[in-house]
């Protein structure tokens, strides 16, 4: 496990980027909180925060890329630190999605049946909402005056199935790109990477179309009771991650065009590929548990 180093471990000099990032997140969230309470400077602060974060991302990643091109990170042990960092970051993302999947399971397996009078919910049912019938998808909420349920939900074998196909294909194309990189076939690398990006963008467009249909035609909204809550929370955070993943893929594409990455040394490419596969796997679970069964 322990690696022997040739040359010493790269210790970066003092850096302003973490502070810029912290200040950016502070402005963004403090601004958002004020915005939610109708304080108008909140919007401005939110905008400043977003700009600071973008500035930090450019600056920080730019620094790392420059260090890498200068050969400072070309050290087995340094690279391993980056690998472990990315792996455990993805693990924390998995746990983040688990929260919403756990919520979905709890609502489907416990809270909705209990509200319908099963198990420990018999008294709740009788006393609060005796007319409520437990069903999933939840097309009628316990208190329809407060929360309007959707009249129908998405058709599994339409757009969602197509999106599954798109994401699975993008998983293949990114692997083809990786093979191209390993075998020094730069054209294959660039074309397959571009294909992955285009597939990612088409997924996002389809998802946007689907959201439009959900809101306009089906009454399936974020506030449409437990079904709408879990549907939009899960697909929404997933879509956000696909957006981030696509941006990452585009950055890598730009670096490919600039001639970065060698068969032996291309961790940034791999990290983005891991992230993309993670987003892919989350979608499979989404497809099964949100759209299908």
């Amino acid at each position: 496990m322990t690696s022997h180093t040739k040359g010493s471990y790269y210790l970066p000099p003092p850096s302003k980027w973490p502070l810029v990032g912290s200040a950016g997140i502070f402005c963004l969230l403090f601004g958002l909180a004020n915005w939610l309470h109708g304080n108008h400077f909140g919007t401005v602060l939110f905008g400043i925060g977003a700009m600071l974060i973008i500035y930090m991302i450019f600056g920080w990643f730019g620094t790392v890329i420059r260090e890498n091109e200068a050969g400072l990170l070309n050290n087995e042990q340094v690279e391993k630190s980056y690998r472990w960092g990315m792996i455990w970051f993805i693990f924390s993302e998995v746990m983040f999605f688990s929260t919403f999947f756990g919520t979905l399971f709890y609502i489907r397996v416990y809270s909705v049946p209990w509200l319908g009078g099963e198990g420990i919910g018999d008294l709740t049912h009788v006393l609060l909402w005796p007319n409520f019938v437990a069903k999933w998808p939840l097309l009628a909420t316990p208190n329809p005056n407060e929360f309007t349920a959707p009249h129908s939900v998405m058709n599994t074998w339409g757009v969602p199935a197509l999106n599954t196909l798109i994401l699975l294909t993008s998983g293949v194309t990114i692997t083809i790109a990786h093979w191209g990189l390993l075998k020094k076939k730069r054209t294959q690398l660039a074309i397959a990477q571009l294909a992955t990006i285009l597939l990612g963008i088409s997924f996002l467009i389809m998802q946007g179309v689907e959201y439009g249909e959900a809101y306009m035609e089906k009454g399936l909204r974020l506030d449409a009771g437990a079904y709408g809550n879990t549907f939009f929370m899960l697909t929404g955070f997933h879509g956000l991650h696909v957006t981030l993943g696509t941006i990452m893929l585009i950055v890598i594409f730009g670096r490919i065009l600039k001639g970065h990455f060698t068969p032996a040394h291309h961790f940034a490419f791999e990290a983005v590929a891991w992230y993309w596969h993670f987003v892919d796997v989350v979608w499979l679970f989404l497809f099964i548990f949100v759209y299908w069964i």
């Binding site: 496990m1 322990t2 690696s3 022997h4 180093t5 010493s8 471990y9 210790l11 970066p12 003092p14 850096s15 980027w17 973490p18 502070l19 990032g21 912290s22 997140i25 502070f26 969230l29 403090f30 958002l32 909180a33 309470h37 391993k80 630190s81 472990w84 960092g85 455990w88 970051f89 693990f91 924390s92 993302e93 746990m95 983040f96 929260t99 919403f100 919520t103 709890y106 609502i107 809270s111 909705v112 209990w114 509200l115 198990g119 420990i120 909402w129 939840l138 909420t141 316990p142 208190n143 407060e146 929360f147 909204r221 974020l222 506030d223 009771g225 437990a226 709408g228 809550n229 929370m233």
Partner: protein
Amino acid sequence: MTPTRVSKHHDDDHDHGAHQEPGFLGFVKRWVFTTNHKDIGTLYLTIAMVNFLLAGAMALLIRSELFLPGHRLIAPDFFNTMTTMHGLIMVFGVVMPVFVGLANWQIPMMLGAPDMALPRLNNWSFWLLPFAFTILLSTFFISGSAPNYGWTFYAPLSTKYGPPSTDFMIFAIHIMGMSSILGSINIIATILNMRAPGMKLMQMPMFVWTWLITAFLLLAIMPVLAGTVTMMLTDRHFGTSFFDAAGGGDPILFQHLFWFFGHPEVYVLILPAFGVISEILPTFSRKKLFGYHFMVYATAAIAFLSYIVWVHHMFTAGVPIQAALIFMYSTMLIAVPTGIKIFNWVATIFKGSITFETPMLFAIAFLFMFTLGGFSGLMLAIVPADYQYQDTYFVVAHFHYVLVPGAIFSAIAAVYYWIPKWTGHMYNETLGKLHFWLSTISLNITFFPMHFLGLAGMPRRIPDYALQFTDFNQIATVGAFIFGFSHLIFLYNIIQTVRGKGKKATKRVWEGAHGFEWTLPSPPPYHSFLTPPVFVEEASSHEAWDVSDHHEK
């Protein structure tokens, strides 16, 4: 065994101190932009100390109000905000940062590494915190009360009925969570990747082991907390009904999610403390740690069990009785690995040649009083008994016994133990002992009567109480003030040591100390080990270290 070296070249001339430009701006830039594990460790320890005094002052306000029955000193709502913020700040602003600070200082030195694996990320983990606490404390200035529903912020108190400041607390928690996740990633990468050549996982110091396991706990639970507070936010502002039965959700779901985070979280607070105690007891007993392997396995077992016990916080909330029973048994199971640890600590000091310097005193106090807190935990785990104890002062007594003489005492012990190494000067032993006796006695005066109050039925989180509880409350309040002010001695002692008032510390500092950090000069060079030292294991001993003086110039 003769120590050897992997690399013979000396980079020692790179090993200068911090780059600090002259003037105030230079000082600020050094600390704000630093990527050095020692600087960042110091920053963490400093913010923890500041928050400790702040949240301690809140506790003293609570105790002052409870000195006499009736509403006397502070308004009931303000009392509620005090209990809430005291809890939130002590958990997120004191115990978590203090152990991350210790990890930052110690883990690279204990592993023989030059620094943490990802130094810039390390800086970010820290500098998120002051911003998070700025947002959290800003809630005191927002109209309609600061968070006032207890540190557990149960829905619907925090969703439908929460004050506007709740959103600020939510975002503060998001940022703290980010800080913890990034910090944990860094600690894991450091431990897995930065060990000196030859050091296997099962040869690492116990403090490093406990932090490795803690970091995994944090990685698994902080995202869950982030998701949960996000659902609170959408429930409050975007019309969702995750925690509202009218839309098909369930307020109990909030408790499940919160305690799925919250129970492992209490082990996040105590596992590094176990690590500290496992370092200090062998040093002052001049024996190696008894049952090293079992200590590692027991820590891992505690961490695993901590994921499957969360419902014991919710026995009275309306969970099915089968669930309550399952979680009762899994909870009681934790007593087994914890018992192993206590046994091993006692076996470590058994027949040792013990001396009672301040860190050892605190460690022994930990041993007794943490065990007491563990026993009241067992009582609380029993479902029918918990129906009686739930939401009484018995619970308050229980978790203060595990957190104050547990987590806080071990952090104090760690500071006394390592500060000669960090600063190159010994602390004042007399003042240290005075601090120990004052705080240990007053701690018991404060928290022991709370057991009786709780068993007699005094509810927690209430600013007023029935007359018959007056005596014990007065005793507790007197104890709390002595306890609170005793830490000023500690603060004074630290400041004097940092200013170099004590006598010079040797490299080894303590006669019985073992490990890489004691082979470095006191204070250690800015980058601990630029040339990795060699880990040498003597026959049948995991505790033997390369103690050569090779880092001396």
